[in-house]
Symmetry: C2
Subunit: 326 residues, 2 copies
């Protein structure tokens, strides 16, 4: 029985009022005096007929749909992004909005097309947020929060007595911008704590800054690690004793390379991940990492895009999940 769509007019007819009145009632428009009895009639009719407002018609009239678009590009939906999405979605739903996500290598053009056809109320472009500083950010303070989470990570290592720390960068170019930001933050934290600046290294070329690490490996970019012989620590340099990784994935790759060389965490080298994905817990040794209240940031982002005050209910501070590698 695919009877055609129930419109506002149908509801109005069924309850013996005009569409205008029906609209006023169903949208709880203020400044209108409509007796409770009439309101009740309208609402009952709407419920009985199973009326649902037509999204496109409403969007046309209101100027934009009640959708919010989140562009995640090729970021994996795991760990904190998953929670971020959950928080965002929940808070938006609480305000009659819906979250929809765009995935994939998004040329600017495809995102624009998506925006044109969905006509969303707002767009949160994480790819852009990650790729550059974006003055009017809608990420709920996600990027800003990163500094304190990085501090959580470095402080844990420092608290364990490590002073010569390495910072492992991801090999994925798309993450380069934010990785550099994280590295700066790590250095700032170290300076504040009176520690030497963390040594930067990428896993593609494990030799890192001035040979400050004792293990060397190169990666073929995808999955397999190729191991090359160890490098002597040059005179005047001390070996790194702990590594803070850009994220869990980077940490896991490092662990994998270490295992290939017979190195063991945390004894040979302590490793701490960042932004728990759950995967790290299955590794042996299990990865110590930092957990972030991404859901809180998601909720803040939602409030930001809807123009609501974001001061209330700040995200919880990040914490260290202590497992075995550091």
């Amino acid at each position: 029985m695919p009877r055609s769509r129930v419109t506002l007019k149908d509801v109005a007819a069924a309850s013996g009022v005009s569409a205008t009145t029906a609209s006023f009632v169903l949208n709880r428009v203020t400044g209108q005096t409509i007796p409770p009895a009439t309101q009740e009639r309208v609402r009952r009719a709407a419920a009985e007929l199973g009326y649902v407002p037509h999204g496109s018609a409403r969007a046309l009239r209101e100027g934009s749909s009640r959708l919010v678009l989140l562009n995640v590009g090729e970021l994996p939906v795991a760990g904190s992004l998953r929670s971020f999405i959950a928080g965002l979605d929940a808070e938006l739903a609480a305000h009659e909005h819906t979250l929809l996500v765009r995935h994939g290598r998004t040329g600017d053009a495809t995102l624009r097309r998506a925006v044109e056809t969905a006509d969303p109320r707002a767009v949160i472009d994480l790819v852009k947020v990650y790729a550059a500083d974006d003055p009017d950010r809608l990420d709920g303070g996600w990027i800003d929060g990163l500094a304190t989470h990085t501090a959580t990570q470095i402080d844990y290592l420092a608290g364990r007595g490590h002073t010569r720390i390495g910072f492992a960068m991801p090999s994925d170019d798309r993450l380069a911008r934010i990785a550099r930001l994280r590295l700066q933050q790590a250095r700032t934290v170290a300076r504040t704590r009176g520690l030497p600046a963390p040594a930067e290294f990428t896993l593609d070329d494990f030799v890192a800054a001035a040979g400050t690490i004792t293990a060397v490996a190169t990666f073929d970019g995808h999955a397999q690690a190729r191991v090359v012989p160890p490098v002597a620590v040059p005179d005047g340099h001390a070996a790194v004793t702990a590594v803070a990784a850009f994220d869990d994935d980077t940490a896991l790759r490092l662990l994998s390379a270490m295992a290939d060389r017979g190195l063991h965490a945390p004894d040979d080298l302590a490793v701490i991940g960042f932004d728990d994905t759950g995967h790290g817990g299955f590794w042996r040794p299990a990865l110590t990492t930092v957990r972030i209240d991404a859901e809180g940031y998601g909720r803040r982002a939602a409030r930001a895009v809807l123009g609501l005050p974001t001061d209330a209910a700040p995200p919880a501070p990040s914490t260290v999940i202590v497992r075995s590698t550091a």
Copy 2:
């Protein structure tokens, strides 16, 4: 300079024709005779003014928007789902449509709300596809293809001389329905090949069907594995020599539990994953797994929802990525 939206009327005015004509030109409506010169004028005006059709208005008129909604629920966007999305998106884009994804624990109600506000041309609900047989499936044959991919997995093990095979089920209830389907398929394949039926086990209770495995572990549901003492193989039963896992994640958990017990793959027990996520390649030993041409299925799904013929260009057959565990 937030000059207001450029509408079709603006384009019409700028090129000295009516909105009707402009619409005909821009939509390449057949059965209309419009001289190339006029067409050129309209198109040029559209380009110069930067006209973009208003998605909501078009949706209102056409009956639905040019969006396609994919509900992935809490499935991780990794491995084949990522490729599925890529293929779906590309094929839809080629036909002027846009893919948008819904994430998260989706009560039916929230999905419905999303559908109401986005008013999409079609909805592909993977959660539903995974949870039950769905007569008019729009998944591009994904579920159907599973049988042949399962065969790829089992056949590889058989080809290596294994006859007593276990099938490791995921501990996640949300995957139970599809896991059972996979198990049935594995058994069918085994029967066809003259092998004993694969033993089912879940990682939550590793003891499995009638003690057919030599290692025992229980999991706390999230990340950590708790190890309990080994169980003797009961009389009249032979130990499993190889395990086909429901997916890479399940395989990795198994590997993790084995490492805790000092068991080594493939010697103590061969393990093959399913649906390469890339992660498996970083493990030591690196996980052997099955790769699926999910992108092809995504493209087929796109054609299915758009009502295009899906016969052409079937997805490529699945292949085994041989690494170290089997």
